[in-house]
């Protein structure tokens, strides 16, 4: 069992937890992920490591409660424990050598972008962060991102906070204003990563994206996480999860991520009600 050391709601949908996993805390590097399973009946679900504290043996995860597994996880509190927590999985981000980077996060993707921004910032790179959200009440990690960047730009789709518009608008403005970057990192919803990659390609700017396909084992065994990169089939769990955004077939990824959507929509309501009832005391 792996104990939940702390829990904090970042907004209504996004939760941050520290899980006790000393070996993973020692080993995890930016870009890597873990797989958790709440209980015997739960799914195995991947989450990118947001931060680690090797001294305390803590691994920070940040997640949005969207599926059954993340909703089950969200219902737990500090002091509770989950059954399985395995990692670090995937390859670490290829960040070395970057001197001037722009890190673009979308929604909860900012939690995944954060460790890379922090790593770059700590290693002497100049880091511009563009953090996009739908609206003010969904903004997360503002302080952390500010501390991990040279300049932080927050955008909201509805203009309720920061600058109005999409992250791509801000990125284009920065590029057009003559900012020269040697690395872009884009992490967020698949359409956002697609459009950022399309934009940076015009500017010949190397761009890393972190992919989030459906996964079972996370060690290269199931092939469920296969993605098309440069026309070749790659497994996000062992070859990724980060890839060259200019090579990724985002449409294929969006398609595959819908694999269980219809089935889940049928099942979900009743199963969720059941899960909430089962964990009702804790919720």
């Amino acid at each position: 069992m792996y104990q939940i050391l702390s829990k904090r709601a970042l907004n209504e949908q996004v939760t941050m937890m520290e899980i006790e996993a000393p070996l993973i805390a020692k080993k995890a590097r930016p870009g890597q992920f873990i797989i958790f399973r709440v209980d015997e009946f739960g799914e195995r679900v991947p989450l990118t490591v947001a931060a680690t504290d090797p001294e305390r043996g803590a691994v920070t995860i940040i997640f949005q409660a969207v599926g059954l597994a993340t909703k089950k996880l969200q219902q737990l509190e500090a002091g509770d424990a989950i059954l399985d927590f395995v990692g670090p999985l995937g390859r670490p981000s290829d960040l070395d050598g970057a001197r001037r980077a722009v890190v673009i996060g979308g929604g909860v993707g900012n939690a995944i972008a954060y460790p890379s921004a922090r790593y770059l910032h700590e290693h002497g790179a100049e880091v511009d962060v563009i953090a996009g959200f739908r609206s003010r009440d969904l903004v997360i990690l503002e302080e952390e991102l500010a501390a991990a960047s040279t300049r932080l730009y927050i955008t909201t789709d509805d203009g309720s906070y920061g600058e109005a518009g999409f992250v791509t608008d801000k990125l284009r403005a920065l590029l057009d204003a003559g900012n020269q970057y040697d690395l872009a990192i884009a992490i967020g919803p698949v359409p956002m990563m697609k459009f950022v990659s399309r934009l940076t390609r015009e500017y010949h700017l190397r761009t890393l994206v972190s992919l989030n396909p459906i996964m079972v084992d996370g060690t290269g065994m199931c092939g469920g996480c296969r993605v098309l990169v440069g026309g070749e089939t790659r497994f996000a769990c062992v070859d990724g999860p980060e890839f060259d955004g200019h090579q990724v077939d985002f449409d294929d990824l969006m398609l595959r991520n819908r694999s269980y959507l219809e089935q889940e929509q049928e099942d979900h309501t009743c199963r969720l009600q059941q899960a909430v009832q089962n964990h009702g005391g804790k919720a």
């Binding site: 080993k27 009946f41 195995r44 399985d84 060690t219 092939g223």
Partner: protein
């Protein structure tokens, strides 16, 4: 005890095909004590015992069968477990027809003794009636790490534990068993049987550490240098699925057999109490002709598919699956589209699988594997209407360990290069099972684990016991 002159094997009761095709309960029900004694009477107890040479772990077959015939089931269990640490598993999934039973003298005229069924009976009888766990042996103070809790790792760990080694198995999944729990379905090998065999190992003192992906959370070098293990045995299997590389393979509804079976077996997607989803299919094509293809096809039936078709490039004669599995699949209503090769998968506007395009094949000259090579018949295209395609054309070793262990020699297929005793290019690092051979059988992997355990014992003794200097 009486000799049984029958030329045919005592039949084993099985679930009715129509019934079992819709449930996940075990297909073969096993011998009763009376049936086992009857079948044991067919063994001639011949002096040369060719059957033993056919067993990769060298079970003393005539001895245990004689004990079954004498109704001394406890002695029979001891005899088997001296050589085989997973008898209930092997009695179910070993291809006895090409191993021990292939060499049985009774098989020259008639059917061989049903050695596998008898092994299964002895193991099941012990578990169901005696249930006693083995006792740990006194520790010898030496530590060995085993990577992977599949058949080869379990077998190696058991033999080392019996020699007094303190053994830790590191397993990437949340539970031990490897392919026995993620791959082989419940209806062929119930998970509870695997659990019980692993509990026996734990009673011997073997420690199982789950959720440990070696090559990521710890490397082989860290196990040797920082964690005090004197030797490491790599039994990480061949888990990386191969895809066809044809158009449409990323459509919704295309699975590797590994993914399909892992969802159903390890994650229990067939059981509605579990959260992991699996596709609700109406019509399924399974590509391949091995045991894994049969498992996937029969699982699809049990998950409710109305039609399941195996698509295989050659004919029944070349099919690598066990005859019994092909036979069971046929009985349950799996269709076979042999001499057919998939060319593309077509989807609808929502990206869901709709049809599988195939070409007819004919058999030409034998290829390197000795099987006749399938050759395309021009203009023979046809399509199958399916909503799910499962690709079961093989697997290769996972690259994680070879990529993170300097100096570990591998071959162009990604397999670790190991000698017959399991030793590799790195001193203290041994390997066996599918990670060395590529996909093979449970029992071959277990045999490799056994040999490596002996080699690891010799290696550690050689390092620690005073050496005889006169040899140099």
């Amino acid at each position: 005890m009486s000799r049984n002159p029958s030329l045919t094997q005592t039949p084993m009761p099985v679930q009715d095909p129509a019934l079992r095709a819709r449930n996940f309960d075990e297909v073969a029900l096993g011998y009763s004590a009376a049936l086992a004694v009857e079948e044991a009477g067919r063994c001639l107890d011949c002096r040369q015992a060719p059957c033993i040479a056919g067993c990769p772990v060298g079970v003393r077959i005539p001895d245990f069968i004689r004990q079954v015939a004498a109704r001394d089931f406890a002695a029979a269990f001891d005899t088997i477990t001296q050589s085989n640490s997973l008898p209930a598993v092997c009695g179910r999934v070993c291809p006895q027809e090409t191993q021990c039973e292939a060499r049985c003298v009774r098989g020259i005229k008639g059917e061989p003794v049903a050695i596998g069924r008898l092994e299964r009976f002895v193991a099941d009888h012990h578990r169901e009636t005696v249930g006693a766990r083995p006792e740990p042996v006194p520790a010898n103070g030496h530590r060995v790490a085993v990577v992977g809790a599949g058949p080869t790792g379990l077998s190696c760990a058991a033999d080392l534990a019996k020699l007094g080694y303190s053994v830790t198995i590191f397993e990437a999944f949340h539970t031990g068993g490897g392919v026995l729990v993620y791959g082989i379905p419940e209806f062929r090998l119930p998970e509870s049987i695997v659990r019980d065999e692993i509990a026996n190992l734990e009673a011997l003192g073997v420690r199982l550490e789950t959720n440990m992906v070696i090559g990521r959370v710890l490397t082989v070098d860290e196990l040797l240098d920082d964690f005090g293990y004197e030797a490491v045995y790599l039994g990480t299997g061949a888990g990386l699925p191969t895809f066809l590389g044809i158009e449409g393979e990323n459509l919704i509804g295309v699975y590797s057999a590994n993914e399909y079976l892992t969802r159903s077996n390890l994650m229990h997607a067939h059981d509605e109490r579990y959260d992991t989803p699996i596709r609700r299919s109406h019509s399924v094509a399974v590509i391949g002709g091995g045991n894994v293809a049969m498992d996937a096809a029969r699982t699809a039936l049990r998950l409710g598919a109305a039609e399941v078709t195996i698509v295989y490039r050659r004919s029944f004669e070349e099919m690598p699956a066990r005859i019994e599995e092909i036979h069971h699949a046929c009985e349950e209503g799996v269709r076979f589209e042999n001499l057919a090769s998939p060319t593309r998968i077509l989807g609808d506007e929502r990206g869901q699988v709709q049809r599988l395009g195939c070409l007819r094949m004919e058999l030409g000259e034998p290829d390197a594997s000795g099987r006749r090579r399938p050759v395309e018949i021009p203009h023979s295209d046809f399509e199958l209407e399916v909503d799910t395609v499962i690709v079961a054309i093989g697997t290769s070793p996972n690259p994680l360990i070879r990529n993170t262990t300097a100096g570990l020699e591998t071959n162009p297929r990604g397999c670790i290069v190991a000698a017959a005793d399991g030793s590799t290019s790195r001193p203290g690092v041994f390997a066996g099972g599918d990670v060395v051979t590529g996909s093979a059988t449970v029992i071959l992997a277990m045999g490799a684990g056994k040999k490596a355990a002996a080699a690891i014992d010799a290696y550690i003794r050689g390092k620690t016991e005073p050496k005889d200097c006169s040899e140099n």
